[in-house]
Amino acid sequence: MKVDKLMWKSFFLWSLLTLLMLLFPLSSCTNKEHAQKTLKFVTWKPNQPAVWEEIYRIFEEEHPDIHIEREVGPHSSTAFHDLLTQKLKNKSTDVDVFFMDVVWPPEFAAAGWALPLDALFSQDRQEQFLQSTILANTYEDHIYGVPLFIDSGVLYYRKDLLEKYGFNAPETWLEMVSQAQKIVMEESEQGNEIYGFSGQFKQYEGLVCNMMEFIMSNDGSFINNDTGKSNITGERAIEAVRFVRDSLIEKTAPRGVLTYQEPESLDLFIQGKAVFHRNWPYAWEISNNPSKSRVAGKVGIARLPHFEGSQSYAALGGWQLGISTFSEKKELAWKFVEFLTSQRIQKLFAVKSGKAPTWKALYNDEDVLKANPHFKSMKNVFLTAYPRPLTPLYPSISNILQRYFSKAISNTDTDIKKEAEDASQEIDRILSMTQ
């Protein structure tokens, strides 16, 4: 009898505990009243938080009934992608508005995560934006995101040093290498330790952007437009990869670039330790800010060099705003997206944080040009920036390319041709899945 009682008692208690523990996480979802007015915005940690604070303040002043709740993700695009897709995969209603890197819209569209915005984002409004940014947000004739910033690879250089040695900004990669070699040699004789070049060559997404610029500026390409198949085994593409391995890494750039993402490579430049630097437009404001940079005022900006007989290409980057298909407040979400991407707010971003706007008219705006004099000459670079392959399976292709490029440039004795063939086969296999 006694055992029975104890048994039931313990059984009952345990079950109750189990139930409680299972129910506990669910109980937090019931507070609907408050949630109605809160918009969840998944964003990354900005370089200039003060500007963002100001913009949130303006929005909440104009829409006192809406509160923006930010979830700040990692700065790295790849890590941010993992966080965001994890939420969307689970059809989380915790996300209303989110940032998308320029390569994601096809994936988010095909997966059904990003809301088609055709009804909200009118054709007339779309025409106010730079065309390449609209194209990047379009997948199978529907638009899935509103571009906020445009990025494209540009070349920064030490104006003072180039002038000192009587050089102009280099037109070709070879010219850049020979200028760098001369400057590095002469400067080191005077006790000034400096490297020729810094860029992003770690095994990550940025490596793909950097290498695409080298390959395309040698008339190569990732994907053959006629056959729709991988083209990285092409002679021109391999030549460009070989150039990076044999003439840039350890010769012009420190070997450390193989571990650099944007911040580390920019660091080298603003410490005055690099003559040339490949980065996105945001680096202009930082490298000319005397409180952050030792080379403020000595920085020049130019379009990226190219190989002999070809022309310059810049990788298209940039950030778009999307609305989650699973959001319960799509109309409020659009209000916020429309606000952030509006001409006046983009202008604020451009003037105060040096972000390149996607709104065409702003490239003729006096205030914007006063704060960013380089926008005038860079407008064409932005207009011609070239997208990475537009496919919903881009993450897979990028991972294959990252592995291939990292292998090809980290060891001087790698058989580039063979590695390229292996990678090419894998890419074709992935591409065939979409057909």
Binding site: S15, K202, P395, R403, S410
Partner: protein
């Protein structure tokens, strides 16, 4: 009373087990079985149009032809062998030291555990700084002020792999030491006394008494460390992201990339299942070894 005492006690036993069983099923068996179920599907999150096709063992066949998977499997085994080997060795040395009586032993014991108490993410970030090519401590120790000869350790496929091994050994040797110390403490002093009276040297005492008696503890430390090392992820994620030249790509990281970055739920699960079976087989082997070891002790 319709039931006998024994039956009632059985009921009681079952009643006590059920809640635990429910918990384990929900949080261990269900995910494992579901992973296996997923691993037999072709699911591409970014192409929902393909649906969830059941493909039997296609993913496994693909896995055996996947050069990258093979490469990361080799890396993983190499990592496991190197880290567990060094960790047990250093763990043993540390345990022997902190087992001795000396002034400030409590402090040393606490200090030894500090690396283990630091979250791996933080420790990885720290080691990334230590191996940094411009301001890293390693470069400063080797080259001092000769900034020009500073080496980018993490840019070299060989050294980058070495770096994650060193970081792991630094971090978890003390955990092995803790387990081995527990084994040392159960050896009674009179055994040593008897050995000394018989004229055994310190080395003989160590090889004939200490080592055989702490064998179970050593095996348990080995078991824990091997299983843990197989799951290495955070070190790679923070320090190298699998690069350079894919030299630090390990299975868990590769599976993570497939599943979370590329959205290949089926194939990613296949890799997880492989990791599961690898650790499962190895732990079974160890448990058999520990079991037989213990039995001999009793005999």
């Amino acid at each position: 009373m319709p039931f006998s005492l024994i039956t009632r006690e059985r009921f009681f036993g079952v009643g006590l087990i059920i809640p635990t069983l429910l918990f384990v099923s929900l949080f261990a068996f269900y995910p494992i079985l579901y992973s296996m179920f997923l691993s037999m599907h072709r699911i591409l999150l970014s192409l929902p149009g393909l649906g969830r096709e059941f493909v039997w063992f296609d993913n496994y066949i693909e896995l055996f032809h996947d050069k990258v998977a093979l490469h990361s499997t080799i890396n993983t085994f190499l990592f496991v062998a190197l880290t567990t080997g060094f960790e047990i060795l250093f763990g043993l040395v540390i345990a022997l030291v902190i087992h001795e009586r000396f002034r400030g032993r409590g402090l040393v014991r606490a200090a030894v555990l500090v690396p283990w108490a630091i979250p791996t993410v933080v420790a990885s970030q720290m080691w990334r700084f230590i191996f940094n090519d411009k301001y890293g401590l390693v470069n400063f120790i080797f080259y001092g002020n000769h900034v020009r000869s500073y080496t980018a350790w993490l840019a070299d496929p060989f050294f980058a792999f070495g770096a994650i091994v060193i970081a792991d050994v630094w971090k978890t040797s003390s955990f092995a030491a803790l387990l081995i110390l527990a084994g040392l403490q159960i050896i009674p002093d009179d055994v040593y006394e008897a050995a000394r009276i018989d004229g055994a040297s310190t080395w003989q005492q160590f090889t004939r008494i200490t080592l055989p008696l702490i064998k179970p503890a050593l095996l348990i430390a080995l078991l824990f460390r091997t299983m843990d090392a197989f799951r290495v992820f955070d070190l790679v994620y923070i320090m190298t992201q699998g690069g350079p030249a894919d030299s630090t790509n390990v299975l868990q990281f590769y599976g993570y990339k497939k599943m979370f970055a590329e959205g290949l739920m089926g194939y990613g699960s296949t890799i997880s299942v492989l990791v599961f079976f690898l650790t499962f087989t190895i732990s079974l082997l160890y448990i058999r070894m520990i079991g037989s070891g213990l039995m001999r002790e009793e005999a």
